[in-house]
Amino acid sequence: MTPIRHVAGTAIPFGRKNVDTDVIIPAHWLKTITRTGLGRGAFETIRAEPGNIFDDPAYTGAQILIAGDNFGCGSSREHAAWALLDMGITCVLAPSFSDIFSGNAFKNGILTVCLPQDAIDRLMEVAKDHPIDIDLETQTVTTPFQDRFTFDIDPFRKACLLDGLDEVGLTLARDAAIRKHEAKISADLPFLAQAG
């Protein structure tokens, strides 16, 4: 996974509340076989609206999404995180996120930042024509106008994101313990240690 230290630049001031994963990526995109390519289906229903924010040239190439309360609610589909990543989003700011979505986002190296509603409102305003700056190391969000908001993050998640460590990578680092267990079941429960 790509490490995240610092994300700076254009942010999409989306702001809608209760955006469920079906809005992020509609169900008919679930029959795919890759994680990549889902960006085309991201926010499909919103993108069907003329003049929608996602197709506004002012925000092309944005890595940051500013969202509303309860972002990512609804079905547990991991495709929602894949779709955001594929459209280039690596950081989402919102007053709150659904637990499952923020877990899935984390597993895929997306930073989710929770800030109070008034901070989000201010960032929405700034993002209309100015960049936003998120620093994970210091846990701060800043703007060119001296705004400075700090956020909380689970220390384990922070460390993983900073180093680009995914759960698989972390478990692979426990190889010695896994090998030990493997040797133990080979001795004690050989019929489970091998199939057939």
């Binding site: 029959k31 795919t32 076989i33 890759t34 994680r35 990549t36 547990s76 991991e78 894949w82 899935n104 597993k107 759960e167 698989v168 990578g169 478990t171 692979l172 426990r174 313990a177 896994i178 030990k180 267990h181 493997e182 079941i185 429960l189 050989p190 019929f191 489970l192 240690a193 091998q194 199939a195 057939g196």
Partner: protein
């Protein structure tokens, strides 16, 4: 004094802990991993992108099932008949590419052993008592009928298991559901588990692993136990478990992947030691009298919406919980039923006998016994029997069961998930009803607008010949 008496769940769990973290999360060793075409493509893709390998391809088995059509797969020249839906075809092709690339055995669509993963695992002896078994599918709980700790996982976890053969998990609470007494005539394993769904509700098992115990459970065949455990997830449980006993051991012995020789003796000794110790404590105990269980049907859009076939559609106002009242009202509107209507007067246009809940040989036999000498009712538009695997199909054909169904006007199909979920061509049309031996009656599960009534194979067969939900006891005398 801390008790050393342990439950079946605790014994299996303890044997599989690789490491325990400070926060209580454990790294758990996985003995068997079943892979199908729907939840695996992105997991394999992630391995490829990261340059990772499958740690134990020998403990992994790939079987396509969800997307496969249940009509012929090869033409008379032995060539593959193309799959019409391009996305289904693409998922199937991905599995056929990924399995060999990562060194995993694939039981392909034309192999005699192909079938629904949860039928194939036990049938091949790949799933064993006491093993930890995962699959990217929520009905993995099925294998708990053998006394395996088996549960469904998501795509990220599929990737984790492929790469590490382990999973990060927190230990679940334990619940005992004890069913004591004798089951009446016409009452099957499916009726037992539907009844339990009604008692516990769709989320009553959330956070628990359920062990089904009691004389009625012990009295079930291993296939019946697989049916019960299959639906543990429908009461919200992480997994279901039934202690392995002589029947389990006899079932496993001699299967292709089953242990042999000295390993077999060791295995049997360990399996016999797994049963919950006297004095072990469960976090919750629910006791059910087997005599209370009647042939059961569902009337709503949650597996908890169950009733005895002799009963009526309930009045939503009769539920104490206001949110359940609202849910029941919505269910009845979707199902096109009215409160007070007799369940035995509900006409069905479709009958589906199959799915990982009820597609093993005993299910085929139970359905055929009811159908024998009868005809599909005129108002039943579509009735199909879909064996759970190629081996079940061959066995049923050797017993002449296929001829009984075909003579009655019921179709006999190739193995797969079929009409259990609307992912392949077998679908129930909007507004029509289906008496189905599957495990989910959710809105749209069998097709957009389809109305599902969950029943046992014998009850589904009865519905096929009478054209309505029917008390099978009236037909078997």
């Amino acid at each position: 004094m801390a008790s050393t008496a342990k439950t079946l769940y605790e014994k299996i769990w303890n044997a599989h802990v690789v490491e325990r973290r400070d926060d209580g999360t454990c790294l758990i060793w996985i003995d068997r991993h079943l892979v199908h075409e729907v939840t695996s493509p992105q997991a394999f893709e992630a391995l490829r992108v990261a340059g990772r390998k499958v740690r134990r391809p020998d403990l992994t088995l790939a079987v396509p099932d969800h997307n496969l059509p249940t009509t012929a797969r090869r033409d008379s020249a032995g060539l593959r008949i193309p799959i019409a839906d391009p996305e289904s075809a693409q998922q199937l092709a991905a599995l056929e590419r990924n399995a060999p690339e990562f060194g995993i055995r694939l039981i392909g669509d034309a192999d005699a052993e192909q079938g629904i993963v949860h039928v194939v695992g036990p049938e091949q002896g790949f799933s064993l008592p006491g093993a930890t078994i995962v699959c990217g599918d929520s009905h993995t709980a099925c294998h708990g009928g053998l006394g395996a700790l088996a549960f469904g996982i998501g795509t990220s976890e599929v990737e984790h298991v492929l790469a590490t053969q382990t999973l990060l998990l927190k230990q679940s609470k334990t619940m005992e559901v004890r069913v004591e007494g004798d089951l009446g005539p016409g009452v099957t394993a499916k009726d037992v588990v539907l009844y339990i769904c009604g008692v516990l509700g769709a989320s009553g098992g959330t956070g628990y692993v359920i062990e089904y115990t009691g004389s009625a459970i012990r009295g079930l065949s291993v296939e019946g136990r697989l049916t019960v455990s299959n639906m543990a997830i429908e009461h919200g449980a992480r997994a279901g478990l039934i202690a392995p006993d002589d029947k389990t051991i006899a079932y496993v012995e001699g299967r292709p992947y089953a242990p042999k020789g000295a390993d077999w003796d060791k295995a049997v000794a360990w399996w016999r030691s797994l049963a919950t110790d006297a004095g072990a404590r469960y976090d919750r105990v629910v006791i059910i009298d087997a005599a209370d269980i009647q042939p059961t049907v569902t009337w709503g859009t949650s597996p908890e919406d169950t009733g005895a076939i002799g009963g009526v559609v309930p009045d939503p106002a009769s539920f104490a919980d206001p949110s359940k009242q609202e849910a029941a009202q919505k269910s009845l509107a979707y199902m096109g039923l009215t409160a007070g209507q007799k369940l035995s007067e509900v006409e069905v246009q479709n009958v589906f006998i199959g799915s990982c809940t009820n597609s093993r040989i005993e299910d085929m036999r139970a359905a055929a016994a009811v159908v024998k000498g009868r005809q599909k009712a005129a108002n039943v538009r579509w009735a199909i029997v879909v064996p759970g695997s190629g081996l079940v199909k061959a066995q049923a054909e050797a017993e002449g069961l296929d001829k009984i169904f075909i003579a009655a006007g019921i179709e006999w199909r190739e193995p797969g998930c079929s009409a259990c979920l609307a992912m392949n061509p077998d679908k129930v049309p909007a507004g029509e009803r289906c008496a189905s031996t599957s495990n989910r009656n959710f809105v749209g599960r069998q097709g957009p607008g389809a109305r599902t009534h969950l029943v046992s194979p014998a009850m589904a067969a009865a519905a096929a010949v009478t054209g309505k939900l029917t008390d099978v006891r009236e037909l078997i005398g």
